[in-house]
Symmetry: D2
């Protein structure tokens, strides 16, 4: 049995052609290349027409689905299969689970784009169009995309022209100078602010511990940041550092643990509790500088997502994680650049919500964090292994002029 | 101005005497040793009577508090200071923030033990006694312990007699043989099961990825474990491995990523959703082995705490983190041994709830995890840097024979 | 100006076509694809005929050299350029510096293979053929290959048929089960021993510290290993463990540091010194088991390369590093499999000497080691992030049964 | 049987008293504290008179040796035992193996200091005094110190007064701000230069890769550094970066790997070879800036120690490791501060040669490096986990201003 597929684009330099042929070979199936029009110059895309040959209809269906995920579409794609969910949060077993790449579905007459692209979602057909939706938000009766025969996926193609991040591969190494990353990142910040688009920062408390708070606060004050995603600890240690000059009890000036300093974060929480929350603490004048102060003053949206290890938490921390995921997604929506600073948990959480075409830079002193982020599907993330405090200072210096 | 203090116990070999004198010196204050009865033989405790000398009452009060946290008590301790909380979750600024060490408060006539000991809590006086309570659970009108003058703290003393874990220091190294740890740990498991006490396991999904699921399932089935603390991912990948033979899409037998395998965890969630939850999936016979199967069958309590990065989540995952912290604390209560397996987030979360006298062993391939756990206050944790899959297999083998 | 090139082989699935086109695009040069015969079935190789177009002869020469390194050869390749070295260890500035891939040079009438392939060497033409030689071994008057126009390089092609290691990608992760690696590795050991070929082990002292000595000794005794490359420390701590039961002073049974144990390695060195060396210590019966004992008994060649941090060293340690590199290369010569165990220094040193078609497996608890090995050119190395002591035991168990 | 010991100094806050009592308890022996004069004020040292009680003479001797290593001395110390070495590099089995702490030996009438203190050495008595000597340098007939009964060891005592480094504990954490370390380190550099003493730098090639070369070159040019200890790779990549703008083939300005860049280090070696060495390359004007240029110009001593993984090596690299260890020791002699930058191998090598009272700061992005350094006996080393390129720039900035 056989099935024809077409793939188009910069198939060669994006490695897609390689992936297609490898897939078929690894599946122990056969193929014929019917036609391959390679772009003869830099500017032209290539076009592959290939025939997949399998022994059984079942195998043909299995391998076809995989080819489709690589960006192939069937010639004369069949109409997409839509089935109803029988229960809330439960869909037919052959549901199509999304990637984070741009996706189109053949609606019988044309390729229709899916809205709200994100990974690990379900595609729902509604009056308004096709939407990525989380499994838990499915309601009985929703129309669910099944199989993968009528789906066209667009993995990010290698940018031939270069552009801001063309230079960066997503290799992870502690043996690189970060100077060039800092200057290219500053360039991106400027571009994005100039065209009125969004940069989002995801930050862990290590930003405070390593002395990067003033630099991050400056970025926010100067309008480089349009949203802040973090956890309870970032805000707690930020407040601790403003109130008591310590972070996790360590004096930020001397680097020396202070006696009773380990109680400072609880004192900070209590003090914010007294005000009723971070916003009120800022308005009362008690919290007069720092990352959260600037965030509140700049009126940029933020979400502090709760976790099992939180002390307090602050009144501002969202401990209902269903809601927290919703708020994160809302703030991240439409971002052109996401800068992730030393927080594996929140970085992976945010990465889960981002389409793969959003520029993502992840700074951490631990190379494993970036590897993990990529393993969890955010393979677009560019890793920078460095000291986050010094990195933020260098970035602020670069943006200053 | 001066104040007399007494400290008793194995002051020298526990390093307490050192800490006391260092503290005073670093505070730039003066002291006189009025009397020091050193235990003349191994068996006798020591007793230190020391006079702290400061210039001002304020300094005297400041340094006194610190001495008290080191285990000193004032001679003729003043009655404890109790103040009312004016608002919910807000206590007087000089509230006493607890450590995770055993604590007593002078009630005017005797030293009274505090119940539910944990770190970063507030001490509340009620009809039934003195209780550690989380700041967020304080209600207006509660009586709160303030200052630290009437508090006696007992840091864990070095065990002179040895005992199961006496041999282990809490050094963290990837350059040690784990054989002896495995056999001593098995010894502890046996002791604890024999006397009907509790061992709790905290586990991350790496247990599944590294092939340790069968071994952990065996431990549960054989009755070595009395509670399981984890997150959504452990159960998701456990179900994925049972249903599809993969973990995060990687075939557990061949170690090879399977095509479309990255969708398996979503398929697993959907399948559990269809049943309504893990327990129902077990009862229906669909989920017929693995870590969660054995947990359900053994009827041991478990809690899956939600997080910002969760897919799904499973119906069983507690996404209200206030409730999740409560359930964790309930399950951990009374444990004699806590074994933490490759999950920094849940390990720190659990560590926050444990008194310092609970034996805590933390196994991770990353040495930084154990360091971080100790930095967050769980300094009693013994770190084992190893491959968690191989470690669990070795432990199961040891317990078997 | 233009130049025609031909590339042949499994160009697509090996990613070579991608690399060729990317290179030209990144060099800002132009190309025409004159002909591209894609293998229409799995079995057929592909053939690319491409014309590189540059503005200047200089650019043409520059980019041509790069294409050649990717496996292209010029159509009608020019005779190779050979120049004489003017001084010892000094060659003409345009010398051809080798990769670790199989290499052929156009000798005017045919493609002639280069002997003793290794990276970072110079190609010398002598009566007997073409040889890779280290720069330092060049003598004034030697004929040196210059430029790269007449060179054909063969990067390892992806194995379509599978075979022992086909399954393993060279991803590095601490989140994988090592079971399948162990069984496949055992398979390779068996294959290699059956056909009378060579397996070489590179081992650091962590093998001893983590309790893997008995397992490695067993592998050697049972004939699985045909050469041992290590440093002074492996032998010192091996002897220390045999003589005193400790490794770096830590008791291997209890995991407890022993008093004065840190002196044991010096005592071990002194004791071996008294015999005159390891071989004599074995013959005298004093050193009666362990890794070095088995190595001596099995009469397999070994080299202990000296380093700046060596204590002692043992009489057997080669402190002249020029000689040590020579001995290493001699022992590694002809190996089909190299197993590297927890020694970044010796692993990179050995990797430098190996052609890229030698199977190389690197086991370390630190993921950075494997990354570094690949960064230094040994990109064929398969990384296994695990506890080396437990890993060796599992491997020995697998080979036993 | 019993033996009296005396220990003097700040026994309590240095933890020495704790260690003494723990030792005896762990040895399962008994003691009587005959007298303990605790320093009653900050300024006074303490004095312990203690009686060790054992069942046999053998046990008494064993435990006595251990007590002596903790800084105790026997009351009425016996004359030291001196025995002749029978062969070169072979000493009596009960030889005294040195620590890196300041050491005195009872010569019958007084405590005599040992010269050239270093760890893992043998004490030799000669006409000129008592010397630490490496085992390999012992000649038949040398008089060797045996046993430990007449030895007084002085572990570094905690500095009560503070001073430049008093603030730094040797904790290793990537979660600290390095600002305070930078400013304190700069302070130490100034102090040391002002009093005409020596600062030595140990540097790995990561200094070049991470863009720290200009800053290190500046430190050398401005006279802050009095000796440089490194390996072949530092000089190779330094020359590569000066000649070709790359380090390991990566463009230092753009962070992008350059085509053929991986050959640049071989080209750099060849170019230096043409000159005959680094000094000649500087004198010819070909090598006109960088770390090695400044080192040659400043006429400060340097040693490049060879290793098994070296390419080339450069003519300046010392491949005879016996000689390299000698040159290292000579350069390190008399240093007051040693700054170790991203080179575990050379850091441990240097640490082996340093007395424990030399200030040692080790900067590395990998926390395991500092842990390992301490495990190998250099427990005085202060670890800084940071990005070494950014760290050096911050240090140069601090010293400039």
């Amino acid at each position: 049995m056989q099935q024809r597929f077409i793939a188009e684009g910069h198939l060669i330099d994006s490695g897609i052609l390689t992936n297609i042929l490898n897939l078929i070979v690894e599946e122990n199936e056969d193929y014929n290349i019917l036609r391959f029009d390679i772009g003869k110059t830099n500017a032209e895309p290539s076009r592959l027409e290939i025939e997949l040959i399998c022994d059984t209809a079942e195998r043909l269906s299995t391998v076809s689905k995989k080819l489709i995920n690589l960006g192939c579409y069937e010639v004369g794609p069949p109409a997409a299969v839509w089935k109803r969910a029988e229960k809330d949060a439960w869909v037919p077993a052959d549901f199509y689970s999304t990637t984070n790449h741009r996706t189109e579905v053949w609606n019988g007459s044309a390729w229709q784009a899916v809205v709200d692209q994100r990974m690990d979602a379900v595609v729902v057909r509604e009056a308004g169009g096709l939407f990525c939706r989380k499994l838990r938000d499915i309601r009985a009766g929703d129309e669910i995309l099944c199989g993968g025969e009528a789906v066209h996926v667009y993995p990010p193609q290698r940018d031939r022209e270069g552009g801001a991040f063309a230079f960066m591969d997503n290799e992870v190494s502690s043996e690189r100078s970060v100077e060039s990353v800092v200057s290219q990142l500053a360039e991106s910040f400027r571009e994005i602010r100039n065209r009125g688009s969004k940069t989002i920062v995801v930050a862990g408390p290590v930003v405070i511990h390593t002395g990067g708070a003033a630099a991050l606060a400056e970025l926010i004050r100067e309008g480089w940041v349009q949203g802040l995603l973090a956890g309870n600890a970032l805000a707690v240690h930020d407040a601790e550092s403003v109130f008591y000059g310590t972070s996790l009890g360590v004096d930020l000036k001397t680097g020396k643990p202070t006696h009773e300093g380990h109680k400072n974060h609880m004192r900070a929480i209590n003090r914010i509790n007294g005000h009723g929350g971070l916003r009120q603490a800022v308005e009362s004048g008690d919290l007069g500088r720092g990352v959260m102060y600037e965030t509140v003053q700049a009126e940029i949206p933020f979400c502090l997502a709760g976790s099992i290890r939180d002390d307090g938490p602050l009144p501002d921390t969202q401990m209902d994680l269903i809601k927290a995921q919703g708020e994160y997604a809302e703030i991240a929506k439409g971002a052109d650049l996401v800068l992730m600073l030393s927080s594996m948990l929140h970085a992976i959480g945010t990465g889960n919500m981002l389409p793969s075409y959003v520029k993502t830079v992840c700074v951490d002193i631990n190379p494993a964090v970036v590897t993990k982020l990529a393993d969890r599907g955010s393979s677009q993330a560019i890793g920078v292994v460095s000291d986050v405090g010094l990195f933020l200072k260098a970035l602020a210096r670069e943006l200053r002029g």
